[in-house]
């Protein structure tokens, strides 16, 4: 089942087109990363889905149905910034969230334990650090143990330990079969936890799908020798490759996904009188894919 299906979704702010006819769907049980540089439309997209922004065109469906506010009660969401009543304590704020979500207040202590805020649960929100505010927002999203979670930049303001903890939490939630939609500009974060990814740039959806399909659409064989210029000429004749480029003192041979064979490359070089000092098969990183797509 699809948790979310987005069809031709557009959003204009005057002349600026923040989203341009975006289409994708999020299968249940996936960790779906929405990736893009600042201003690419990630938060706008999630804002529309959460009904805090109005779409200029297109539509979306939640749980296969026309979206209503009742659907949002089944989704735990952290959108952009932690939004709480500054004069109220963590517990008082979570009581408001629980009342709106129509979930019992008995879950409040559990979520505060998960986000390590139990000791400060009776402190006012205004006294919290940025990291603590972010943790509380994640805690609020977890209230009632929803099956779908939406996290917009979940590690904002967290220290390295906090980032690692949230990453582990997301992995754990995913193992429990929950669907997680996560927007981020931190490539490393997405690469480490996501099963699916959508890449946005200036409101356009560049690509989306299984993270392995998107990342491993090319094999990169990295080689080096003492005769780089002659090797470059020779390697242009190697069968099956799609392109060759020099990168930081190495030569990168690109093959269609799953077709690179290191032994064949080594033999081809040896047969052509080139001795390799370095030979490695590299999976294309999300970072390189991201830069390739967005630049």
């Amino acid at each position: 089942m699809e948790v979310l299906k987005v069809e031709n979704l557009s959003k204009n702010y005057g002349q600026i087109k923040a989203l341009k006819e975006v289409n994708f769907s999020v299968p249940a049980g996936t960790v779906f990363g929405i990736l893009g540089p600042n201003g690419s439309g990630k938060t706008t997209l999630l804002g529309i889905i959460m009904d805090v922004l109005k779409a200029s065109g297109g539509s979306y469906r939640l749980f296969g149905q026309e979206p209503t506010h009742e659907h949002r009660k089944q989704i735990g969401t952290l959108l952009e910034t932690p939004n709480f009543y500054h004069y109220m304590t963590a517990v008082q704020n979570l009581k408001v969230s629980a009342a709106i979500k129509e979930r019992g207040e008995d879950d409040i202590d559990r979520v505060l334990e998960i986000v390590n805020l139990a000791a400060r649960k009776n402190s006012r929100f205004s006294t919290y650090s940025l990291g603590m505010k972010q943790r509380l927002a994640i805690g609020a999203a977890l209230l009632g143990n929803p099956d779908v979670l939406v996290f917009d930049e979940p590690t904002n303001g967290l220290d390295p330990v906090g980032i690692a903890e949230i990453r582990e939490l997301i992995k754990k939630l995913s193992q429990q079969g929950k669907t997680i939609i996560m927007a981020s500009h931190l490539l490393d974060e997405v690469e480490k936890v996501c099963t699916h990814v959508a890449i946005l740039k200036q409101g356009n959806l560049l690509t989306y799908g299984d993270v392995n399909e998107i990342l491993v659409n090319e094999d990169v064989v990295e080689i080096r020798s003492s005769e780089m210029s002659r090797m470059e000429d020779v390697m242009k004749r190697i069968p099956g490759h799609t392109s060759i480029k020099l990168s930081e003192g190495n030569l990168h041979l690109l093959f269609p996904a799953g077709t690179a064979d290191l032994a064949s490359v080594n033999r081809f070089c040896f047969d052509n009188g080139i001795t390799l000092s370095h030979l490695q098969l590299k999976k294309k990183s999300l970072e390189s894919k991201f830069f390739e797509l967005t630049n």
Partner: protein, 274 residues
């Protein structure tokens, strides 16, 4: 709606400004009326006006309903101020977004604020009723419900002030600007209203056209115009030259403006980005 109001109460009961302003308001209603009562009794009552004013007791039954409603009307800016703060706080801290994200519909979000405006107006009216009753008995006259319609006018005025406050809150969104604009609007409309009243008098005296006090046809002044201090005998004589008060027209206009404020507030929340 009860569920929504219970959730709203969770926000209010922990908000110090709400507690403090509400307490001031209750105290203020009694104090203001006590001052008017005392001033009239000790000062106005001693002025020599050929025996016309000394018999005038504004807190006697049945004038107490009108006097208390009129005097308390001056305090209605306080709950309006509170409502502006409560609404704009939601925008300042983006909790309006969070309420929607957590599962309220936009209609529910604005409806509970409008319901709050209504509840505050009802509470203020009850307070006026109790105060009028107390001062009425204190003045030593027999209970009477004559003139009780002024308590109804007070309710209209209170609701009108509150709904304009919600309207300003949802359209302006910034606390300072919204409060500033609220007072500027009150002042500006009052000045325009005075000018219209002068024009109304001129039309009647020079051309014999009686369109009523046109100043009362403006949004705030419609409900304001319904509440006046009881006429003393001197003023009653002078009033014979003024345009007629078309009370029902003013009531219909005041109710119409309420519907307009309600509709504009809802429309803004339902249609725009939060």
């Amino acid at each position: 709606m009860m569920k929504l109001l219970k959730t709203e109460w969770l926000k209010l009961k922990n908000y110090n400004a709400f507690i403090v302003l509400s307490s001031f308001l209750v105290l203020g209603v009694f104090t203001t009326n006590y001052i008017v009562y005392t001033v009239n009794k000790n000062i106005v009552g001693n002025v020599n006006t050929g025996g016309l004013v000394s018999s005038f007791n504004p807190y006697s039954f049945s004038m107490t309903w009108q006097t208390t409603s009129y005097a308390t009307g001056w305090l209605l800016m306080l709950p309006a101020l509170l409502l502006i703060i409560l609404v704009t706080n939601e925008f300042t801290y983006k909790t309006n977004r969070q309420n929607i994200i957590d599962g309220w519909s936009r209609e529910e979000f604005i409806n509970v604020k409008l319901a709050l405006a209504l509840i505050i107006a009802v509470c203020m009216t009850i307070l006026v009723f109790i105060t009028a009753l107390l001062f009425g008995f204190a003045s030593g006259t027999d209970f009477s419900l004559n003139g009780f319609s002024h308590v109804g006018y007070f309710f209209l005025k209170s609701l009108s002030y509150n709904l304009i406050a919600v309207l300003m809150g949802v359209w302006i969104r910034r606390t300072g600007f919204a409060i500033g604009l609220y007072f500027i609007y009150l002042g500006a409309e009052n000045i325009i209203s005075q000018l219209l009243d002068v024009w109304s008098i001129k039309l009647r005296s020079e051309h014999g056209i009686d369109l009523g006090s046109m100043g009362d046809y403006l949004p705030m002044n419609a409900s304001d115009g319904l509440l006046t201090f009881p006429d003393n005998p001197l003023k009653s004589i002078a009033k014979s030259n003024l345009p007629t008060d078309y009370i029902w027209l003013v009531i219909v206009l005041a109710a119409g403006y309420l519907v307009l404020f309600y509709w504009l507030s809802r429309r803004k929340i339902i249609k725009s980005d939060l």
